[in-house]
């Protein structure tokens, strides 16, 4: 195993051992959501609205129920009433009530003895609709005369007299904004738009659920957070959370989209109605794209003031975001908070609104809100740098935030690493590569807060001295490896001696999902504390064996050792020797830690991309791509690099191709991967990475989260590169070939 040169103070941290899930995944042994089969299991199919907005007049399931083998049909009438707030949103989104709010909204579900039979039965369920006017585009939805998606959905923040689809307003800022613009030599203002994109996880949502009439049940499900799924399903179904035991399957991607429920309550409700028989429900790709959460679409105004030597003096952003038909689904607050977070600007003002539209309920997607905000702000910043003849990287460095600077969203930054990131970017050889005709280079910075959250971890010493860690955060990005490395480092044992299991809801206290780039940070922090607790107990056992005070025992290199006046008096007692004896000298040895993890450290990144644009077709090819990001500490650098590359690739897709295309009737036109074009390996060069390490003082090994920041800079970096390659600035995404070609032609005509 090669030891990474950056982390020489550690024995294991910074190395790249084999992945604990690698063999299972490459041999097909890993069990995903759809892989569970139970005796007597039924299969479910869902009836979805073909209309973007329609009143449900009548549902007639008699023909479906008459089929031999059909065991249950559920509609909203099978769910409890009286829910409020987000619980109501979840229930309404899982199964429409009086009104279908978007194309693909579930209106009924059926369980039968085979999947084909369930699908046939679903086609026999007759739903009468009264089609209502709909609205799709965020700017259309905000117009005072737009079709009203839902009345009474706005929260306390919305002033009276606002357009009916505005449901939330956010504003914050500091400094004298007018004086800031007055101090600038150049002030520019533009409007930017981004389309909704889907997380694009390869594994569709899938579960096997069982629920009895007594309110007790189990679920095997592909999720980022088994406790969240449990709580949400319990609320939607009106059962006790502890009545439901949820086991997470292996997960084929989530990126935020598997932190909430979509079809899971339907499987549970069908099971309950079918006498407690287990029900498997697997979404098709089309169902995933039509009815699970994409991110929001956005329309954004940005105004920046800059001196002629590149110092930002003032910034004003005004964002409008739609996240479907439900309050709180759009990340407008996060987008505003991230928009200017990379820069030290004396005066900033942020305003934003959330708007309802007849589209699926948005879910979190990797640094929610930050990529759209970065597209707007970093595009305008780049444009102004070129107008003033300034180097875009130098300008970013000149304005970069650092420890002690007041963040655009309020607080003063603790230890952060943007300056180190930009300096490492500047030193990278990719910036020396010569550009040819129709080629351009784009640079952008990005930011994400990262998150701590509720976390519970247990750790048990085996009779042979190996160690089992029980963690509650599904492994979506390598957390089993990073947890094993941190525990092995702490205990002074080998990486291979630690097995990390992702456990079901009955095994630990509540864990938040693997979201917010928190698994290696928060679960890692708790695992280290659990290991330290076990070390304390192992030292006590050794002290008893030796007949000395426990304070006179230290832990070193995987063994208890007598210290102080007893040093050398007894040979070290290894973890294996302690494990072998523990049954007879006090019983099992374990460690446990639970926390709402604090001390999270933000992560900054910078990307540099070289593109070539075909002037005949408008197609953009990525020639070179560099990701530089502060990891705090890279526990397993290969996984960190993978996160950087994955974020960049998803951002490339968002920038170049991905978008939801709706017809005039409000139906999604591209609900398959053939038409919803995510990048594939043959579209891309190897993504170069540089791991910067500015350790986070809030974590025992310095970890910051690394999962999300990487999706933030690609949108503007690519837009900036395309602008350089073509001379045409495009202020809306995606930069699809027709749009780029039109911009090139328009420039030629101009």
């Amino acid at each position: 195993m090669a030891k990474d040169e950056r982390t020489t103070e550690f024995r294991l941290i910074g190395t790249r051992p084999n992945r604990p899930d690698g063999l299972d995944k490459v041999t097909g042994r890993a069990r995903y959501g759809a892989d569970m089969t139970l005796p007597g299991m039924l299969f479910a199919a869902v009836v979805r609205s073909p209309h973007a907005h329609a009143r449900i007049l009548k549902i007639d399931a008699s023909a479906a129920l008459a089929l031999d083998g059909v065991k249950a049909v559920v509609t909203r009438a099978d769910f409890p009433t009286g829910l409020t707030g987000e619980d109501w949103n979840l229930q309404e989104n899982s199964m429409a009530g009086d009104v279908a709010l978007y194309d693909g909204h579930a209106v009924a579900a059926v369980a039968a003895t085979s999947r084909l039979l369930a699908e046939d039965a679903a086609k026999l369920i007759k739903v009468d609709y009264e089609v209502l006017p709909h609205v799709i585009d965020v700017d259309d939805a905000i117009r005072p005369d737009a079709p009203v998606v839902r009345t009474g959905a706005a929260d306390h923040s919305v002033p009276a007299g606002s357009p009916p689809n505005v449901v939330k307003c956010v504003d914050f800022g500091h400094g004298d904004i007018e004086a800031g613009f007055a101090a600038a030599d150049l002030v520019r203002e533009h409007t930017y738009k981004t389309e909704a994109t889907h997380q694009g996880y390869i594994e569709p949502h899938a579960c096997v659920a069982q629920l009895g009439a007594d309110g007790k049940g189990e679920m095997w499900v592909c999720t980022q957070g088994q406790w969240y799924i449990r709580r949400m399903c319990a609320a939607v179904l009106g059962i006790d959370a502890s009545g439901l035991r949820v086991t997470p399957s292996e997960i084929g991607g989530g990126f935020g989209g598997k932190t909430i429920i979509f079809m899971e309550p339907l499987a549970l409700a069908l099971s309950r109605k079918a006498g407690g028989r287990p029900v498997k429900l697997v979404m098709s790709r089309s169902d995933v794209l039509r009815a699970t959460g994409p991110t929001a679409s956005a329309s954004m105004d940005v105004k920046l003031g800059m001196t002629k030597d590149g110092k930002l003096t003032a910034a004003k952003v005004n964002f409008r975001m739609q996240g479907g038909a439900f309050l709180g689904a759009s990340p407008v607050g996060e987008a505003l908070s991230c928009a200017l977070a990379c820069y030290d600007i004396p005066a900033v003002q942020h305003d934003g609104v959330e708007v309802l539209a007849n589209r699926p309920k948005a879910a979190a997607y990797r640094a929610p809100g930050s990529p759209m905000a970065a597209f707007a702000v970093e595009s305008l910043l780049d444009e102004m740098c070129h107008e003033l003849g300034l180097d875009p990287l130098d300008v970013r460095l000149k304005n970069a935030v650092h420890e002690g600077v007041k963040a655009s969203y309020g607080p003063t930054y603790a230890k952060i690493g943007l300056v180190e990131v930009l300096e490492a970017t500047k030193a990278h050889p990719n910036l020396l590569a010569k550009l040819g005709p129709n080629q351009g280079r784009g640079i952008a910075s990005g930011f994400w807060f990262n998150h701590g959250g509720e976390t519970s971890v247990s750790l048990a010493i085996g009779e042979d001295g190996t160690v089992t860690v029980s963690a509650g955060t599904p492994d979506i990005g390598g957390s089993r490896a990073s947890l094993a490395l941190m525990v092995a480092e702490t205990l002074g044992i080998e990486y291979e001696a630690v097995r990390v299991n992702i456990v079901e809801t009955g095994a630990l206290g509540v864990n938040e999902p693997s979201h917010g780039s928190r698994a290696t940070f928060a679960t890692g922090k708790a695992a280290v504390e659990a290991a330290r607790q076990a070390i304390g107990e192992m030292c006590r056992r050794a002290a008893k064996e030796w007949g000395i005070e426990e304070e006179a025992v230290v832990w070193k290199d995987g063994a208890a050792m007598p210290a102080g006046p007893n040093a050398g008096q007894f040979p070290p007692m290894t973890i294996a020797e302690i494990g072998a004896k523990m049954g007879g000298n006090g019983g099992p040895i374990s460690g446990h830690h639970e926390t709402n993890a604090e001390g999270v450290g933000a992560s900054f990144g910078a990307h540099v991309v070289d593109v070539e644009v075909d002037p005949e077709t408008g197609r953009t090819t990525i020639l070179r791509y560099l990701v530089v990001q502060d990891a705090g500490r890279a526990i397993h650098p290969a996984y960190v690099e993978g996160q950087y590359q994955g974020g960049a690739v998803q951002g490339i897709g968002w920038a170049l191709n991905e978008e939801y295309v709706y017809g005039a009737n409000g139906r999604l036109q591209n609900a398959v991967f053939l038409d919803y074009r995510i990048p594939v390996a043959s579209d891309l060069p190897m993504i170069d990475t540089v791991i910067v390490e500015v350790p986070n003082p809030g974590h025992p090994y310095g970890v910051r989260g690394v999962g999300e920041t990487g999706i933030t800079p690609p949108l503007p970096a690519i837009a900036n590169a395309v602008a350089m390659a073509t001379g045409a600035r495009i202020r809306s995404l995606p930069l699809s070939p027709p749009k780029v070609l039109a911009a090139i032609k328009a420039k030629g005509r101009g």
Partner: protein, 80 residues
């Protein structure tokens, strides 16, 4: 007394004041004090806010606060 910076959208609940002072030794007391002094903040805080103390987000109601701390209420952030 601790001084709490609110985002400007909350000023409507605090008679236009953006920097609010409350008597508190812990984060929990601070949040309760804010609601007691300005009941309109109740639904906002109940819905979830993040608390930044000296630039570090804190989640515990038992965390200590003093007048020497820089305290901000900010939009609740989780992630994807």
């Amino acid at each position: 007394m601790v001084k709490v910076h609110l985002w400007s959208g909350l000023r409507r609940f605090t008679d236009g004041v953006e920097l609010v002072q409350v008597q508190a030794d812990t984060v929990g007391q601070m949040l309760d004090g804010l609601v007691a002094a300005h009941p309109g903040l109740g639904p906002v805080i109940a819905a979830g806010v993040s608390v930044s103390i000296d630039g570090v987000l804190t989640a515990s109601r038992f965390g200590a606060v003093s007048e020497a701390n820089e305290i901000y209420l900010i939009q609740r952030i989780k992630g994807g």
